[in-house]
């Protein structure tokens, strides 16, 4: 089983459109995992049937029982996150500020504080139009994306791949360099970096690659909108050579990306010419 993770450092590079195309091309040989749980969009292209859904609990936050509270103020004094303001002469927990550290719970003399488990989102197992199974999720509003939901999505995809004897797991990874992307990358066999020839694209590529390097995973790169700025494209190619990153392919600047998306289709369904060819070849190289 080979786990392929597609990441981009920054958004808007076409990562999800490209991942969905691979999910289409992989068909029944693969399991798909959408680990971009903060802005999960792949379902818009894959027409999942949302066969199974489950709530996801992670972390806790404090709750104060006003009946038991003697207003000593200990909790507010120790809280480092200003999460216990006094409102209408009562100590109350500000849910958005509370980190769930539990310090207040330990210093309350009357056991007025309980730590409540938090529902941080939902995760799903679906059958898609590409004749494969997709695991995806939705993070609740303002929930902490600690990477735990990402890990859950990945582990479920792995379990399904093992049970059904699939060759590949294709993962739409998270943006940034924090916990979610760390969870997306851990355990990967190959990373596909999707970038664009812009100064910010290059900057983010370098930054996220530092993280990939820490994991010691081999990597390849797709340069999207490659004709937008040939000078920066050359700089990206140079970086790829220096770091021994496989240059998988170049895709031209093309509004077909948007048109396919507006149609609810992946690029390989919508386009039957140049873009499709490049993506088919890319998938052959990656797998």
């Amino acid at each position: 089983m080979k786990e392929i993770v597609i990441i981009s450092g920054k958004g808007g590079t076409g990562k999800t459109s490209i991942t969905a195309s691979f999910a289409m091309l992989g068909g029944k040989d693969i399991v798909v995992a959408d680990c971009d749980v903060d802005a999960a969009d792949m379902h818009l292209l894959m027409q999942p049937d949302w066969e199974k859904s489950e709530d996801f609990y992670s972390g806790v936050i404090a709750e104060i029982d006003q009946e038991k509270c003697v207003k000593c103020g200990n909790c507010a004094d120790v809280c480092r996150f200003s999460a216990i303001p006094i409102i209408d002469k009562k100590y109350v927990v500000n849910k958005l500020n509370c980190e769930g550290c539990g310090y207040c719970f330990h210093v309350c003399p009357t056991d007025a504080i309980t730590m409540k488990e938090q529902n941080v989102g939902k995760w799903y197992i679906s059958n898609t139009k590409a004749d494969n199974v997709m695991v995806h999720a939705r993070l609740g509003i303002g929930a902490e994306n600690s990477g735990k939901l990402v890990a859950k999505v990945k582990n479920e995809a792995k379990r399904i791949a093992k049970e059904t004897d699939k060759e590949f797991i294709v993962v739409d990874g998270s943006p940034g360099i924090g916990c979610p992307v760390v969870s997306s990358l851990s355990g990967a066999d190959f990373v596909v970096l999707v970038t664009e020839p812009t100064v910010s694209g290059l900057h983010d590529l370098k930054r996220v690659y530092q993280l990939v390097k820490k994991f010691n995973i081999s990597a390849g790169c797709i340069i999207n909108k490659s004709d937008l700025n040939t000078k920066v494209a050359r700089q990206i190619e140079k970086f790829l050579r220096e770091e021994n990153i496989i240059h998988i392919s170049d895709l031209p600047y093309d509004e077909t990306f948007t048109k396919a998306m507006t149609n609810g289709q992946t690029i390989v369904e919508y386009d039957d010419a140049n873009l499709k060819n490049i993506l088919v070849n890319s998938w052959e190289k990656i797998k």
Binding site: G11, Y103, N145, G178, C179
Partner: protein
């Protein structure tokens, strides 16, 4: 007045809008732009100002003092993030998991876990004519963006008074980092694209802003591609559409070089004028 520029997902033009709007406003007012997308700060690539200040940013983590410790195991019990673990006669601290809550440190009966600073990133301040620019950057390997965002906001409050228009380039998404970045904004601009992805992520961002009880409006970027669903949605939900930025390959090219756009593309500038008017009117009406 504090204005945050956010979006449900990345790549919708958040940074483009932030740097152009800030530069444009700075032609006539005191403006500070602050990049709070600490995981991938990009605004600085477009504003090549003069560096006037640089400092390391720290978070506090416990450090184990073996000689004092009685191995009572209390620290491990109180840490909700498994950041202190007792292994035999050793106490191990995992800094990347620590949320700096001080519980282990202050509840240790013998003071064997004093809190010490650990570097998590750096803050830089630049100046370019009338525009001040502040950027924080998380170190690679640090997993938590929120503490650095919080410290950067506090710094900004300290160093820039209310005469300044403060623009924040927020991180993408709808989870903790965005909440931290938009927390004390008087107004939030949500920028999106008129596509199914754009609409989907906009609805999440709108739900987040409603939850935070924020004043907000929408700017549609690359108007003309995709379809009309975003506009229909805004109309139905009574959300003001402040502006529609044009879809133009030349904009993408200028962006790719790290250039400002409004100085070269009049239609883009026209939209900035509208946005500026909208924001200044809000300010007059007392949202500050």
């Amino acid at each position: 007045m504090k204005i945050a520029i956010a979006s449900g997902k990345g790549g919708t033009g958040k940074t483009t809008l932030a740097v152009n709007l800030a530069s444009f406003l700075a032609e006539s007012r005191k403006v500070v732009l602050c990049d709070l997308d600490v995981e991938e700060p990009n605004s600085g690539l477009f504003i090549k100002g003069k560096l006037i200040h640089r400092e390391d940013k720290f978070k506090m983590i416990p450090e184990w003092e073996k000689d004092k410790c009685t191995l009572c195991g209390h620290c491990q019990k109180v840490c909700n993030f498994h950041a202190v673990i007792q292994l035999g006669d050793q106490i191990m601290v995992f800094p990347e998991l620590c949320h700096s809550c001080y519980a282990c440190s202050e509840l240790c009966p013998v003071d064997a876990l004093p809190m010490i600073p650990q570097k998590m990133g750096e803050l830089k301040q630049f100046k370019k004519e009338g525009l001040s620019f502040v950027e924080s950057r998380l170190d690679i390997g640090q997993e938590q963006a929120v503490p650095l965002i919080a410290q950067t906001r506090e710094d900004l409050d300290k160093n820039f008074d209310d005469d300044f228009i403060k623009l924040f380039d927020a991180p993408p998404g709808t989870s903790c980092p965005v909440i931290e970045a938009t927390k004390d904004a008087d107004f939030v601009i949500l920028i999106t694209e008129p596509t199914p992805f754009g609409l989907h992520d906009l609805t999440l961002a709108v739900d987040t802003m409603r939850e935070l009880e924020k004043n907000f409006g929408v700017i549609v970027n690359r108007h003309g591609i995709g379809n009309n669903d975003v506009l229909t949605y805004c109309q139905k939900k009574n959300i003001p559409v402040i502006s529609k930025l044009p879809n133009d390959r030349r904009i993408a090219e200028l962006y790719s070089r790290g250039s400002l756009i409004y100085q070269k593309i009049p239609e883009f500038k026209k939209q900035l004028v509208n946005i500026a008017d909208y924001l200044l009117k809000l300010q007059e009406e007392g949202i500050r």
